[in-house]
Assembly symmetry: C3
Homo-oligomer: 197 residues x 3
């Protein structure tokens, strides 16, 4: 004959063991899945491709980049095609092929040579835009570039564009790294903000 | 001598107390971490910077914005630089400096004055594009602007651009708020969609 | 008089039943909320609107798209307005209205007719850019288009633009689907990357 109390006791122990297993499974699941989920949340990053070399668009890119960096975002600017002119500091012609020299002469040697997308018709567009910005105490492009560096915005120049256009690393801002499209995608995929300007 | 049954009972109580602690910890963790995670999920928002004042790009921005709003996204348009012309309703010259007046005369006084990025060579581009849209029963830009408002798309004009270009709030659409880059970033960071047009 | 042991036993059973309820609630909650959260995580997708028909911007779009696809992203390109020229393969004039025929003659009949946004002043820009790319062994646009298809990048042509510009599906690349803005938004909302080029 079975002792009722013992049966109760052993049934209780079984119940407890069952709950212990469920709890362990749940703890393990919460651990694993929350870690996986956190890895896939948008990161506190902002990544901007600057393709354009138009003064107005370059200004927009730096205003957004410095804004994002001031809000605590890990911010990166990827300079490609005409956008490379924004981080160019000098123009070299030596050791370049004919088409590379032509390209060098057709693109600005530094940020001061950039012209806006509109108002360029009598060559005075850049002067007028820069003067209007100065009148309203808005930072100049060069001040915005310096501010971006101070705020830790990462600069990367597109290797393929540099290669195609014949731009050498020595011609660019010393704080500018060189990288491929994978470098941009590494920053942009899963960032909270990514823009093509 | 120890009573075996009592020992069993007290061991069971200890086990139960241990599991109760683990369960409380897990409940607390799930509460805290899920709340944190939900705060970092992309929000049901779409944020578009409209930088361009080209009729074709402005149309693209409003088509995407009204599309996103119809799909239940909280949608915002941030008008900056040439894009301000899309929400301009009249042109004022009084009380403006020489360069502000020049800028006012060089930019369209309202959305009807916008021209496309291509086909502008004989001035007929805007007429032709608007006519082709009407022939195919596609909403005009003015209808899209009205639709965007009806769908609750939020309009913000870039304060800095207005200041630099000398555009006054009275010249803009009455439903357009005025805000800085932080206002755009507040909408765009963590939105499900952010575009620079 | 109450049997103390029985009381203990029944109290234990109540405790156990209480914990069982809490555990079931937590299991259910973790199930439901984790599923909801996972649905809202950014998906392994990249969605690009190609609005521009400038050779340089089209190249940038295909370089980013093939890069994202190689990194395992489900990648889609949505061709709209001038960007339709990138997937055009021939130009038809028959059965089109006057303005549709004018539009057809003013836009390139295929990707080989695209010109860059800069350097177009003496018509030699496209030749020069393509030659510089070939010299540096960078894939041509046509190779990038083929690579994109091989990597499974999805092509969608904007139905409204096709309609407005009078472009027929037969004029486009056979692998290009036709869809509206909702199709782009379906890809872009919640993607890890979305760009307007």
């Amino acid at each position: 004959m079975i002792d009722e109390r013992n049966t109760d006791m052993s049934a209780l122990k079984d119940l407890l063991a069952g709950m212990d297993r469920r709890l362990s499974i749940l703890e393990e699941r919460v651990d694993t899945e929350l870690t996986e989920i956190k890895d896939q949340l948008p990161a506190n990053r902002a990544a901007i491709v600057l393709f354009s070399g138009d003064l107005d668009r370059v200004l927009a890119a730096f205003i957004i980049a410095t804004g994002a960096a001031s809000m605590g975002m890990e911010t990166s600017l990827f300079f490609t095609f005409w956008g490379l002119s924004a981080v160019r500091e000098r123009r070299e012609l030596e050791g370049k092929s004919l088409s590379e020299r032509m390209m060098a002469l057709m693109t600005p040697g530094n940020s001061l040579g950039l012209t806006p997308s509109k108002m360029a018709f009598f060559g005075a567009g850049a002067v007028m835009l820069r003067q209007m910005m100065a009148e309203k105490d808005v930072s100049s492009l060069e001040e915005l570039i310096a501010l971006a560096k101070d705020l830790g915005v990462r600069f990367t120049a597109c290797e393929m564009s540099m290669d195609v256009m014949g731009i050498k690393a020595e011609e660019l801002n010393a704080d500018c790294a060189v990288g491929g499209v994978a470098s941009f995608l590494g920053d942009a995929l899963g960032a909270k903000l990514s823009l093509f300007i």
